[in-house]
Amino acid sequence: MFRNLLHEVTGIGIYQMFSLLVFTGFFVLIALWLFKTKKEYIDEMSNKPLE
């Protein structure tokens, strides 16, 4: 069955682990930046369409 296929591809688990780590790292980076962003800048940007 299909499960056998997974066993035959050795070390395939690394792809899942890699994906998860890359995403987590990426997410943390964006979140950190947002945390550091000042309110004035955010207010200025969010009013752009209304100018």
């Binding site: 069955m1 299909f2 499960r3 296929l5 997974l6 035959e8 591809v9 395939i12 688990g13 792809y15 899942q16 890699f18 994906s19 998860l20 890359v22 995403f23 990426f26 997410f27 964006i30 979140a31 930046w33 947002l34 550091k36 962003t37 000042k38 800048y41 955010i42 207010d43 940007m45 969010s46 009013n47 752009k48 369409p49 209304l50």
Partner: protein, 708 residues
Amino acid sequence: MQTEKFQYDNRIVRNFAIATMVFGIVGMLVGLLVAIQLYEPAANLGNQYTSFGRIRPLHTNAIIFAFVGNAIFMGVYYSLQRLCKSRMYSDVLSNIHFWGWQLIIVAAAITLPLGLTTSKEYAELEWPIDIAITLIWVVFGWNMFGTIIKRRERHMYVAIWFYIATFVTVAVFHIVNSFELPISLFKSYSFYAGVQDALVQWWYGHNAVAFFLTTPYLGMMYYYLPKAVDRPVYSYKLSILHFWTLIFLYIWAGPHHLLYSSLPDWAQSLGVAFSIMLIAPSWGGMINGLLTLRGAWDKVRDQPVLKFFAVGITAYGMATFEGPLLSLKNVNAIAHFTDWIVAHVHVGALGWNGFMTFGILYWLIPRIYQTKLHSNKLANFHFWIGTLGILFYAVPMYWSGFTQGLMWKEFTESGQLKYEFLDTTKQILSLHVFRSIGGTLYLTGTIVMVYNIVKTMTAGKLVANEDAEAPALESNYAPTGHASYWHKALERKPMTFMVLSIVVVLIGGAVEMLPTFLIKSNIQTITSVKPYTPLELHGRDLYIREGCVGCHSQMIRPFRSETERYGEYSKAGEYVYDHPFLWGSKRTGPDLMREGGKYPNSWHYNHMIDPRTMSPGSIMPAYPFLAEQSMNVSNIKDKINAMRTLGVPYEKGYEERALQDLQAQAKTISDNLASEKIKIESDKELIAIIAYLQRLGTDIKLTNSAAN
């Protein structure tokens, strides 16, 4: 600081708006026709050019690329100019983009009914049109980046990020999925085969949803919703977070279209995991949209524009919650191949894309014509009949989907399948009638809108060039302190921003696809699987031309309910010579993976001439023309050569004998039919189709019977 005077180009926005409305009506009309064909086979109109298999792709292409495509360009051209405080970079590029795109649509409208198709969903157009799409897309990107570069705003508002991500990603996946080897002006074979072709196709298909139907509309939501409600977006921070996570995650989710298929398991699991995670950024967008309306719900009561936006965003939320659910393997086991998927995509298309487009049209047209909307009453009528239309469409389709999915899997107490496939088809016919009523209501609303908009246009006068002024950007700007943070720096550098979004998007594609392409053990070879004979290959091309893949899958999933009904489940190694793959995504008719040898040739002959003689109650279109048209075998040599180039092991010099083999095999079939008193010349197209159908899945059947 010196103020510069300039003018916004409203004419190009108006042109795209007109194209949006025209192709909206056309695409929906074709949709209605195909919907009726699914319960009334006579609606195929008795000719090959309007049979379901050929015009179903016409409907999907018209809605996605003509209606939604033009709406995107309309929305982007208006908002980009204002957000950049600059006219579009070049009027010439704008016009080339507009007319080029309309020509592509016309080319699609001509070639698809003629049966000139690659058969890959939402990428059906043949290679010359693919090249044209690439060129026009580059023109769009050039014009967009030109505008962004000469902008008078230091930072790019979040809507522009969505537009940039749309541009780069569509370019990447269109090119990757369109790798094909041309054989003639309008015929090509996919560069990839079987499992790999399926993976590339659904990486494309899923991201067409993501980056053509979603990201540009989110960008437009972030511009037009604050405009219409006259207040900033609920949370700009949330918009940043959900932008980056959305474009990162979406690209991984493609394999959820291939669950329980012959795609390697690890790739399926990856697709599921990322699909579930995708709920978060999708709902980030929905919540941000809906909460922008907080404290302004009184406006929603008064303004039709906001009603359309509110329902559109809600539909987006529903569809993006349902999508991850459908990608769970246990849900997918029932939902896949059924009308449930049709309901799901139409909540997105009718609700999200349709209603957002209508809202933007109602908001934008009066502004560029400097007048008021002709009738708020008619717009309200449109809103209600459109909403009813969505309900009358979606509810019967959900019902029909559950019914199909459950009936296909039901066994009797003695362990036999309870229903024939045809029983399940007949069971849902009335629901299909209701669906077409829903579609008619929605179309009626759209026609009312077009009337309302045309009246508005005639009452006002187009301000083709709208005066505006803004201070020029300082050329020697040096960011200090807080302004020097990396993301803000990035927002000042559109090209770097573009490259970074490509990188983010490519990570997912690379991790998913490279192993499938590079690790040989991912696709086990099966020695008994042999290349198609020339006649079967020709038959396969006719199967592609007629769009059979639109209703018949060739993928038996490893469930008892499927192996009992169709035979041995499908193996990855069975598809290694399939350029393109023909797994299909919908079972309006039964799976054909192991059709070979199931019925005699005469059954197929009679069934193709009139399906209802062999299967009373069948809704399949009749194909009498296949028995009249002669095969065009002039390029059989080129086909064999092309297949060999793609890695199919035809022996050297076989192309010289191919025609001879083709004719000999055709003669055996026509002789066999003659012995059953069916007179047909051996050069007719029907013979090739029969040869192909009789071959399907037999390579493995033969091994098994030999082993026994």
